[in-house]
Amino acid sequence: MDCKDVLGTLEAYLDGELGRVEARALEAHVDACADCRAQLDRLDALRRALRDPALRAPAPPHLRERLRAAAAALPRARRRPAAWLRYAAAVLLAFGAGGVSVYLWTSTRGDDIARDLFASHWRALAATSPVDVPSSDRHTVKPWFAGKLAQAPLVQDFAEQGFTLLGGRIDYAGSERIPVLVYRHGQHLADVFVLGAAAAPASTSRRGYTLQAVTLGGQHAAIVSDMDAEESARLGALLSAAH
């Protein structure tokens, strides 16, 4: 890394958005370069000043009370039968459609997670890049996760089998930060969400996208993509055999 690279990434470094490998390279440069160190110190001084608790007043108790009062005034009781009807209609539809999984509005936790995973996949498709660390090298992707999460997932490239590792990103499932491995298969993009000990939601589909529950290195995981069931199952088999 030269001074130009370092000055361009100092802020990402202080914001905790730099991968571990890049962060180490930056630290090595800053140790040896007084000019870059001075700029790092200036940015850090500004950062500490902006994080002074005196600049951030907590919400006053009266606002907390005001929201509670507003909550109590919302016409909830009146709406309950409607919600109940919606639920009943959804159940009827689920049985009527014969095994088609229907997303119930009053969702269970598994449904919440599935919703998060689909949303994350769609957001990634809409974003400029679906990955935060673009690399087909698992020796780059795994340390990047290790620097950001307590447990890095098993990372393996299956380019020879038709599933190319594009990289990884971190997203939320509920309030948990979880690693996401991104693979390309032909024109399809597949996200592999590594859920760890948390149970994966049941396999389901939504708007033409499928979610398939799989295992990766003994951890629960879920593939979300627009691949057909057969291709998704092939990736699932590769992941469960990964070591």
């Binding site: 001084a45 000043a49 949303a119």
Partner: protein
């Protein structure tokens, strides 16, 4: 709305009330309008809970708060173009008269920082508030503002550069910031 969903919105709003209020205060410049905007945001969130498409719930809630603040700003600009912002509201607390010199200096630096941050254009100010005071990641900020991550990064860089330039006399003085 199901009662489970409304309980979820209530918890979400109460849990991130300080963040919502702080964002409102820095966007609107006074406590009264900030509280009103947060109240509006709560009602809007309760009405539009079904539009929540998963993902980071805090970012979703702060996006609604921000939209309510911008709506208030737009009304204010239309109705009272010359209304001065309430300077006292976010004034840093003054050090007591008998405080030692260092405390006085720190308070002075803080007051200068508050003034400069308030003078920043809105887009840089809100990005810095979300990053430094609320500790949101680039991706979360991008979700709140509805802009790409690259835009978040360039706004942070520009905002910090502007602040550094504005504060440089203070940084050169004996204690720095």
């Amino acid at each position: 709305m199901s009662s489970a969903m409304s309980a979820w919105i209530d918890t979400l709003a109460q849990q991130h009330l300080d963040a919502a209020y702080n964002l409102g205060r820095w966007l609107l410049g006074n406590e009264h309008d900030a509280a009103d905007a947060v109240h509006d945001a709560y009602l809007r969130a309760a009405r539009s809970a079904h539009t929540y498409a998963g993902g980071n719930a805090r970012a979703w809630w702060l996006m609604i708060v921000r939209n309510c603040c911008l709506a208030k700003l737009a009304t204010r600009k239309r109705e009272l173009p010359l209304r001065p912002v309430d300077e006292a509201a976010v004034q840093a607390p003054d050090a007591p008269a008998d405080a030692v010199e260092e405390q006085a200096h720190a308070a002075q630096c803080r007051a200068l920082l508050v003034a400069q941050l308030r003078a920043l254009p809105e887009e840089f100010r809100e990005t810095l508030v979300l990053r430094e005071m609320e500790d949101l990641s680039y991706r979360e900020i991008a979700d709140v503002l509805g802009v790409p991550i690259g835009t978040v990064m360039s706004r942070l860089a520009r905002g910090r550069a502007l602040l550094q330039r504005a504060l440089s006399p203070a940084q050169e003085s004996k204690h720095g910031l």
